[in-house]
Symmetry: C2
Subunit: 247 residues, 2 copies
């Protein structure tokens, strides 16, 4: 059975998240349904990142095994045609045959997320659901400086959902950059893998720094506490995008 | 009566356009309704650009006269609060008191539009309604070169809607740049004023150049024909944004 790598974009707003769940609509189910429509096969996709409800992607990666050896572009176009028929806000950017050694989740060596904050008095008209709107002025420079406290290998229990199923809270954070461009503050972060809700927990904590309520030392103390209760209020899913997966 | 300049952003998708029309929902009516909700006054806004149905703005400008002398920020925040209550996709970015000599439409000395084309095989998942999706590869360099044929003062009858109410078809086009950035082709254009449907007509014609059906000389011939029938198929409203107005 040929294996295909799918590069996927989605607006996560209408979905219960990436992962298939009984009684709820997910990005994974939307794609599996589209593949069923095109190839008449009931398949299971495996994705690189199990994004939460409302989280978006411009570079999600998944793999799927199909019975027939279709041309790559046929897979991409046919799945997109079926996604469109079902009015899904999901698109396959590329489909490419890969070897059986490729596993979208377990072969991934890096994951890159972008978090977008719209920092202005007026609410978003064009980007509703695509940004976190924070009307109070944030100091992006202070947020960036504090963010550097979190780089490296740490126990990220503070920044981990109580529902996180990872066996270890240890992760190595490779990048956590905060930069302002006009009214937009972009947080870019990279790691081999992240804990459940880690990015949104870190961004919510950095927002406290941006508004002057916390210092960089407070962020370090929160990390060292290894206590979920020490985390700032979690940022909403709206601003979060899975942008790239490394293999 | 103090006059206020309003800088406005909107997602034009749900509206019949900027201008108030009987029996249809417009951006102007949404704002007038929000002002009524906040100040109990029935007002008439005048906007710099009468954008069509489905056209967006990040920098529309309008003026309005109010009975009371409110602080600028109160006007901005109160109008936004009422827009939100009504679930409008419109936001006031800034409100500022101006003299009676300021007229959003007649004082404008320049208008700047952006047209965004998503040029890739996969349809947009995140930017549906915000871009013109063209799956066939377009040559942005050829489009830019052909666009330069349209710069300067010309009779733009070819690129003007049959419904255009301007007394003269003469306009001076100051900028028409086409540039690719990844899968996105951005067309940026500036003039003191544009004819009805002029930007979408020019972009639709340039797309024909991008796909190799027309040459730069064909664009020049279409302009010289001064005939609406010589225009390429008009680009959809989805990709068009009024980004800035000069005074």
């Amino acid at each position: 059975m040929p294996r295909y790598r799918l590069d996927i974009e989605y607006d996560g707003t209408p979905y219960a998240g990436w992962q298939r769940q009984a009684g709820q609509h997910s990005v994974q189910a939307a794609l599996e349904q589209a593949i069923l429509g095109f190839s008449s096969e009931t398949v299971t996709l495996r994705g690189a990142g199990r994004t939460d409800s409302g989280v978006h992607a411009t570079g999600q990666v998944a793999h799927v095994d199909l019975a027939r050896d279709w041309p790559d572009d046929t897979v991409r176009d046919a799945v997109n045609a079926h996604l469109k028929l079902a009015s899904e806000t999901v698109a396959v950017l590329a489909a490419a045959k890969v070897t059986d050694a490729f596993d979208a989740r377990f072969s991934a060596t890096g994951r890159h997320y972008l978090y977008r904050i719209l920092n202005r008095r007026a609410p978003p008209a064009l980007e509703k659901g695509r940004v976190w709107w924070t009307p109070g002025r944030l100091d992006a420079g202070a947020m960036h400086e504090a963010a550097q406290q979190l780089l490296g290998r740490h126990d990220f229990t503070t920044f981990r959902s109580a529902q996180c199923q990872a066996t270890s809270p240890l992760r190595t954070l490779e990048r956590l950059d905060v930069a302002r461009s006009g009214d937009l503050i972009e947080v870019r972060t990279s790691a081999r893998s992240f804990l459940h809700n880690q990015v949104r927990s870190m961004v919510g904590t950095l927002k406290r720094v941006g508004e002057g309520a916390w210092t960089a030392a407070d962020v370090k103390a929160a990390l060292d506490a290894r206590d979920r209760a020490a985390c700032g209020p979690m940022a909403p899913p709206d601003g979060l995008y899975l942008v790239k997966v490394d293999y």
